[in-house]
């Protein structure tokens, strides 16, 4: 276990802090000296154009890549701190309780929906089965633990509205349900930080709405902080508390959704213009927006979805 050597380097309300992280792939600098932090209980969104390095940040945080430089600190609610950059991927999930989903869904398609959720409880079940030996002999507490695991899976199936599909192969589900199942599976590991890589990508508006409800429910009912990569600005603005914007591997803006939305650098990055042309573009945008509101009354794209 790679606990941080000095105690209390993160303040109590911080759950994750990335410090001066750089990631190189050969000559390509995918992330360049990135620092940000995520607060406990909040939804922190990581946004940026395609290829900005968002997924790479996730892969570094969850241990699938080792950053070339920098430090990643995680603080659990009990106060224990972990240097994630020194831990291997499965330890980050098991000990530091960071859990993730993937940009292209990675379910166990040949296992049933229920089995997917049981695999996620592997470590807890291994322990209660006496590392298989006692369980093999039909040890009583293991049987109870196995039942509990199924109940936990049932709870999450209820959360994602998939109880009726519990015994079907996961590969048989439609895309939107697969996304939700992957989130439920990540939650079954009992995380304190949940990292979602473009959870709304490829969803239709109805599925997208269900996703928002799910994310809100997760945040309200569970003691978990969210780190979220998202493309859809409306989703980001609706549900996130804090936004970090990346471009070409570097942070260009960091703050509340409002602040980021009005940051000229962000607008430039999203529209692909030079910095000195930003003023012009901003004016144009305002004009267009005004015309739009006059044209169709109240046709706001970021309307209230509650």
């Amino acid at each position: 276990m790679t606990q941080a050597t000095e105690e209390g380097r993160l303040s109590g309300d911080e759950v994750l802090r990335v410090e001066h992280m750089t990631m190189r792939f050969g000559g390509l600098i995918a992330i360049n000296d990135l620092s940000f932090s995520a607060r406990r209980g909040e939804i922190t969104a990581l946004i940026g154009p395609n290829g900005a390095g968002k997924t790479t940040v996730f892969n570094c945080v969850t241990g699938f890549y080792k950053p070339t430089m920098g430090r990643i600190l995680m603080r659990r609610s009990g106060g224990a701190e972990f240097n994630l950059e020194r831990m291997s991927d499965f330890e980050i999930n098991r000990d530091a309780r960071v859990s993730r989903t993937f940009q292209n869904i990675r379910l166990f398609t040949g296992l049933t929906v229920l089995e997917n959720l049981l695999v996620a409880q592997h470590n807890a079940l291994m322990k209660s089965s006496g590392f298989t030996v006692l369980g093999l002999l039909g040890w009583r507490p293991y049987k109870d633990a196995a039942k509990e695991a199924v109940e936990k899976a049932r709870y999450w199936l209820e959360m994602i509205n998939l109880v009726h599909r519990a015994d079907d192969p996961a590969g048989d589900l439609p895309y939107g349900e697969q996304r939700r199942l992957e989130i439920a599976r990540a939650m079954c590991t009992g995380p304190e930080l949940l990292c979602l890589d473009e959870p709304a990508a490829g969803l239709n508006p109805r599925e997208s709405l269900e996703l928002n409800t799910l994310l809100r429910a997760i945040r309200e009912k569970h003691d978990v902080s969210l780190l979220l990569i998202e493309h859809d600005m409306s989703v980001v603005m609706q549900i996130s508390d804090h936004v970090v914007v990346l471009e070409y591997g570097a942070k260009i803006s960091d703050g509340t959704p409002r602040h980021v939305q009005n940051d000229p650098k962000v607008i430039a990055a999203y529209l692909g213009v030079e910095d000195d042309e930003v003023e012009e573009v901003l004016e144009e945008i305002e004009e267009v927006a005004e015309e739009a509101t006059h044209g169709h009354q109240g046709g706001q794209p970021t309307g209230d979805a509650r």
């Binding site: 098991r94 379910l107 166990f108 398609t109 040949g110 296992l111 298989t132 369980g135 015994d167 048989d172």
Partner: protein, 469 residues
Amino acid sequence: MTVISQPPRRPSDDRLKRALREALLAGLISLGMFVLYVGLQTTQDIRNQLVLNQRWGLLAILVALAVVGRFLIVYLLGPWFAARKAAKAARAVGAEAPPQNFLRRNVGWIALLALMIFPMAMLWLVGPQKSLKWVDNYGVQILIYVMLAWGLNIVVGLAGLLDLGYVAFYAVGAYSYALLSLYFGLSFWTLLPLAGILAAFWGIILGFPVLRLRGDYLAVVTLAFGEIIRLVLINWTDVTRGTFGVTGVPKASIFGIWSFDFNAANSFGKLFDPELRRPTLNSAYKIFLFYVILAMCAITAMVTIRLRNMPIGRAWEALREDEIACRSLGINTVTTKLTAFSIGAMFGGFAGAFFAARQGFISPESFTFHESAIILAVVVLGGMGSLFGIAVAAVVMIGGTEALRELHFLKTLFGPEFTPELYRMLIFGLAMVIVMVLKPRGLVSVRNPTAFLHERKAVSSAFTKEGHG
């Protein structure tokens, strides 16, 4: 293209034309291929001169076979396959109906019961002498392969680790028993678990460096390890006696109470009539061995079924599906793979010790790659992961090759020089190709889920990934 001017054509007309065309093409190709190899034959006569024989008749037969065969395939078999495929697609894409009736649910127990009666029935039906063939050549032989294939199934079928060197652990088990019993005089029943533990130990030692590799690389390296163990056995002559093999491996005893040695004081033969003793003792030993390997198989099956329903078994199957997802869920994939590898190796070791006790003689010849390939073929043919399918595949493949030895009627068909044994492998290969064409995912191509909320539905293996780790 003018669509209007075309006369209406029936599809079967089209098919006939296509079939004739393809048949003609096949005939031409086979003529071109065979004319030099079959049509003309050179032999040396007594004066060492080359003589050219012309065999146009034989050539004509072969070409005709190709033409007729191709025609039949295109004209009759093709549509049949297409219809089958369409019917399959029309059926529910996902799950198939779960096996519900009593017979199918309890197939394991019924098979076990039948096998318990089998030696006695054979003894009663064909007498002690002839029953030997059925109990030993068929029964014991097949059960050894069932056990090996079930062991390998944990590694390949469940965990998805392609191991081409499984026979190495079989060899470790066999040599552990043979050498330890010869040098230290330990009995079969102490050495049986020890052989399994030693094989598992070797599984871990080999597994550690190897399991970081994935897919094809893993396959090649395990193949090499299988060969290394065999080469060590050949070259470490002081201990293993090299290619001569180890002779006089002690027989198993009935838990040390009775011995199957004819001259021993506690010989089991003393219980029989004096003049019948030797042959009866021999068949009694074979029957005893049959029950031993049957019990070992039953234990293997029970342990495998239990493990599959435990977190570790589920992690194996998850590993076969997606290793990266497993790691994101906090599963230590290295130890998970190692347990699969070493438990599979352990069953191989048990089977090896039994094999040595049964043969009384072992040499590196018994542990070639050919053996690994057959075991793997049984696993793949049976349907990866399904114990029942694998057992059936073992009966078909091992029993089948044995049965081919006995096809004496073929001699009357092809003349007295025809030896069916030589064609065994050919027929065997053909049978495998046919099975794989008809059932590409093995005999049993559904997966039984390990847990369910409402009802247990079999999962079509169309959804399972074959595993590349």
